[in-house]
């Protein structure tokens, strides 16, 4: 289907080629897959799955910071940031060559397009952050992570560590106000085994949504997480404004998350 759609897109691209030539900027790129600076064998799949028929540019302002080699494939720390990129509405983080590529999707409604998390890596792979700005353009940045592998098919620590059985979805966190920029950093941890479903005999079981809201219940940011996020997720956000925040969410088996964090 990807192939068919790809061909269709090419055909359409030819059809509108003449018109596109008259336009400047991103429109001409709309249907085309830009050449991947990371030269990843997985880019065509990722492009077809998440960015088909959309405008994609590789943008150096989108930064993905990760160790060059994964010390622990179950727990690779990653930080993403986009200093200087305005009006980011959605952030998508994927690892091209993981068996489950999508790591998270983030809507920084009233937050900066920056985020830290840890994830499980199966083999060496690019990690990409794609940020969709208000004009509908995806700005993509990424790095290669080298890994010995096995992070997604190894049972999570949860299967050996019974902590989650008694503390499932418990949240601990802290807020650090930054007076100079009128933002505050939120760092939190949720107890959850985050099972991928790929380890034999252990069904998929992971947190799929977290909403950060202010004291009035207004959404500050929304995060959708997927199987590759590490066990007992540790997440950092840069939120606009100040004051206590509320965390709500849940996992795919209906268990709820609710917590409040004060500065």
């Amino acid at each position: 289907m990807n192939e068919v759609a790809g061909r269709a897109a090419q055909r359409v691209a030819r059809m509108i080629g003449a018109a596109a030539c008259l336009l400047s900027g991103f429109a001409a790129l709309a249907a085309e897959r830009p050449v991947d600076p990371l030269n990843s064998p997985g880019w065509s799949t990722i492009h077809g799955r998440y960015f088909k028929d959309q405008t994609v540019v590789f943008d150096e302002r989108v930064k993905v910071m990760a160790p060059s080699a994964a010390e622990n494939p179950l727990d690779v720390p990653v930080q993403i940031d986009a200093d200087g990129l305005a009006d980011v509405e959605q952030v998508l983080v994927v690892a091209d060559l993981n068996p489950i590529q999508k790591i998270l999707s983030y809507e920084p409604t009233r937050a900066l397009p920056s985020l830290s998390f840890r994830f499980k890596v199966e083999q060496s792979t690019p990690i990409r952050a794609a940020m969709r700005t208000k004009d509908g353009v995806w700005h993509v940045g990424g790095v290669w992570l080298s890994a010995a592998g096995g992070g997604c098919t190894t049972p999570s620590h949860g299967s050996a560590d019974p902590l989650w059985q008694t503390h499932l979805n418990e949240v601990s966190g802290r807020l650090w106000p930054k007076a100079d920029s009128n933002t505050q950093r939120l760092r939190l941890r949720v107890v959850h085994p985050m099972d991928t479903g790929l380890a034999s005999g252990i069904p998929a079981f992971y947190i799929d949504r977290l909403v950060i809201s202010d004291a009035q219940g207004e959404q500050i940011a929304r995060l959708n997480t997927y199987e590759p996020i590490s066990e007992n997720p540790v997440l950092s956000f840069d939120l606009k404004g100040s004051g206590p925040v509320r965390i709500t969410g849940g996992d795919i088996q209906g268990n709820k998350i609710a917590a409040e964090i004060r500065p």
Binding site: A9, K52, D53, T55, Q165, P193, D195, S200, G201, F205
Partner: protein
């Protein structure tokens, strides 16, 4: 798929291909909601199966006649579904059929939605179980409940999960009890007037039995009724009276960990508005620790569906000493006797008696043995309703290590265990899956420890006869006589179903699903499913054809309590599949197009 493909004008340009691609991703059409009226009429609608038990009263009787004692020889497989994985344990489910889908549950708290036409899997739910679960007797599940757009089932870590029938997404989840306290859940929930009725499992761990009613759409608790005397019940969050009278039939503090688990769920009498729940053994097994009748253990309890109060109870084994756990299903039926029709209900108890009660007030009408040997009682006094005991209790260990052993029959696995019997209004007979076995049992001193086995007894199990353990028996409730029987080498552990086609279906550990003539007991048909059948057969009609469905997959309590019985079952292959049958039609071969 969350990605948005309609961002640019190009999406419109690729309209044709876009449509084709979108077809598979169209938002799923909402299921036809299951209503209270549909559930109340389930036994009369052959096109669906909305309840485990095939109707409120649990008669497991179908009006369908296409498959009958003449045509059943042509019954052949239509399709089979593998439950997969490496988790091949006992499969005790009954299928539910609604709106083009079949819902089955499996071992280790799994649930599948299958396409009713093709048997293809539509979606599955696998519950993430903690490692510390303590189900006493295999990791089984006995089926789900349907209500509105939901399919609801319970899990081994004592939770309830309500899923959207169409998408398989979790709509709500609630915790019944703390699994670390020995609680689990294996029964099929019952829906009564928008309420989800559930019990608890864990009678071997000193839990407190109770029946609960929740709003089926939200999971919110409506009432809870403990089945151990002395505990408080609640209605809409307010105290609703203690069950019985504290310490009336329990000494000291023993009632606080009194067992009486409601682990097999309940049936409902629409005309009495009573929910009938069987209750398990009192805890611990060693009865010397708890002199008294120990209400409401080993009983059938009738609870008002609206008020959550006990209206009557009948106890089969007062001060139980043999694990004659009385959870067995209570099936309402109208009994014709001496020219009159009696509002009756029947129960084939673990203790070997087939009880017929008046279902409006619980008065005992008759108690007849359905097994060949009962060492513990010679009969039941119809005036008092109490058993006439025959001095068969194991000795008191006192402070010693072990009391004197006795041989008792039936064994602790019961003249009949969990596997539900069926009733045919057409033949007027109950079809009881019985087992003939006994045990040596003795007492040991015991103290309660949270989450640990709470027995205070040791036991072995042995068959009574060399050639058979299982016996499917047709009982006439009006006379208490066995009309026919079918003997099976291994113990019977699967449910029974009967149909207006003069048939009785049940499975065997040897792997066969069998059909018998309902009037004579003659075996008419059998099919080898590849593993032991301990599931509950059911039937439905689709596009003018009648189908029979049953789960195959050996397990349950029998393989865990081997003893001398192990010889009959140790070579049975594990499996895990759901089989569907229909009558063979000759003519052009048809190949499914999808």
């Amino acid at each position: 798929m969350n990605h948005k493909i309609e961002r640019t004008s190009i999406a419109r340009a690729v309209g044709l291909i876009g449509l084709a691609a979108a077809a598979s991703a169209l938002p799923a059409v909402a299921a036809v909601p299951v209503t209270d009226a549909m559930i109340a009429n389930d036994q009369n609608t052959p096109n669906d199966v909305l309840t485990v038990g095939m109707g409120f009263s649990g008669q497991r009787f179908s009006t369908s006649t296409q498959i009958n004692s003449d045509t059943v020889v042509d019954l052949v497989p239509a399709w089979s579904f593998s439950m997969g994985g490496e988790k091949q344990r006992g499969q005790e489910t009954q299928a539910l059929v609604h709106d083009g889908k079949i819902f089955i549950t499996g071992s280790y708290s799994r649930l599948w939605a299958l396409d009713q036409k093709t048997g293809a899997k539509l979606w599955s739910y696998e519950h993430r179980l903690p490692e510390g679960i303590v189900p006493c007797c295999d990791v089984v599940n006995r089926g789900a409940a349907l209500y509105d757009n939901l399919v609801i089932f319970g899990t081994l870590d004592a939770k309830l999960v309500a899923l959207d029938q169409t998408t398989g997404k979790v709509v709500w989840t609630e915790t019944i009890a703390d699994f670390k306290g020995g609680y689990s859940y294996t029964a099929a929930p019952l829906i009564v007037k928008g309420k989800l009725i559930t019990g608890v499992s864990g009678g071997e761990f000193g839990v407190v039995g109770r029946v609960e009613a929740r709003d089926a759409k939200t999971g919110k608790m409506v009432w809870t009724r403990p089945t151990v005397e002395g505990h408080m019940g609640y209605l809409n969050g307010k105290e609703n009276g203690v069950s019985g009278k504290t310490n009336a039939t329990w000494p000291g503090d023993l009632w606080k960990t009194g067992g009486a688990a409601t682990w097999l769920g309940c049936t409902y009498g629409a005309d009495t508005n009573q929910i009938y729940c069987g209750t398990g053994n009192p805890a611990p097994w060693n009865a010397f620790t708890r002199p008294g009748d120990n209400l409401y253990s080993t009983s059938t309890v009738a609870i008002n569906a609206d008020t959550g109060k006990i209206e009557w109870s009948y106890q089969g084994t007062p001060n139980d000493h043999w694990d004659f756990d009385g959870v067995n299903e209570f099936i309402s039926f109208d009994m014709k006797k001496d020219g009159k029709t009696v509002k009756a209900g029947a129960k084939a108890d673990r203790n070997g008696f087939f009880y017929v009660l008046n279902r409006t007030d619980g008065k005992l009408l008759s108690a007849s043995p359905f097994v060949t040997k009962q060492t513990w009682a010679s009969g039941v006094d119809l005036k008092t309703g109490r058993p006439i005991e025959s001095n068969n209790r194991p000795g008191n260990p006192g402070s010693g290590e072990k009391g004197s052993a006795v041989f008792a029959a039936p064994s602790f696995l019961g003249g009949k265990n969990w596997m539900p019997m069926a009733y045919s209004g057409q033949t007027g007979l109950f079809y009881v899956p019985a087992n003939e076995w006994g045990m040596d049992i003795w007492n040991e001193p015991i103290t309660y420890k949270k989450g640990a086995a709470y027995l205070g007894a040791g036991f072995t199990i042995k068959p009574l006869y060399d050639d058979y353990i299982g016996a499917l028996r047709a009982m006439d409730p009006a006379t208490g006589k066995v009309v026919w029987e079918y003997k099976n080498p291994a113990p019977l552990w699967g449910g029974v179903m009967t149909t207006a086609g003069n048939l009785v279906f049940t499975g065997t550990p040897e792997g066969f699903l069998k059909a018998f003539d309902a009037k004579t007991g003659k075996e008419l048909w059998k099919f080898q499913t590849g593993s032991g059948v301990v599931g509950q057969p059911t039937t439905w009609e689709m596009d003018g054809e009648q189908y029979i469905g049953v789960a195959s997959g050996w397990g349950g309590a029998v393989p865990l309590w081997g003893g001398e019985v192990a010889k009959k079952v140790k070579d049975i292959s594990q499996g895990g599949s759901f089989w569907v049958f229909k009558l063979h039609k000759s003519g052009k071969a048809t190949v499914a197009q999808n």
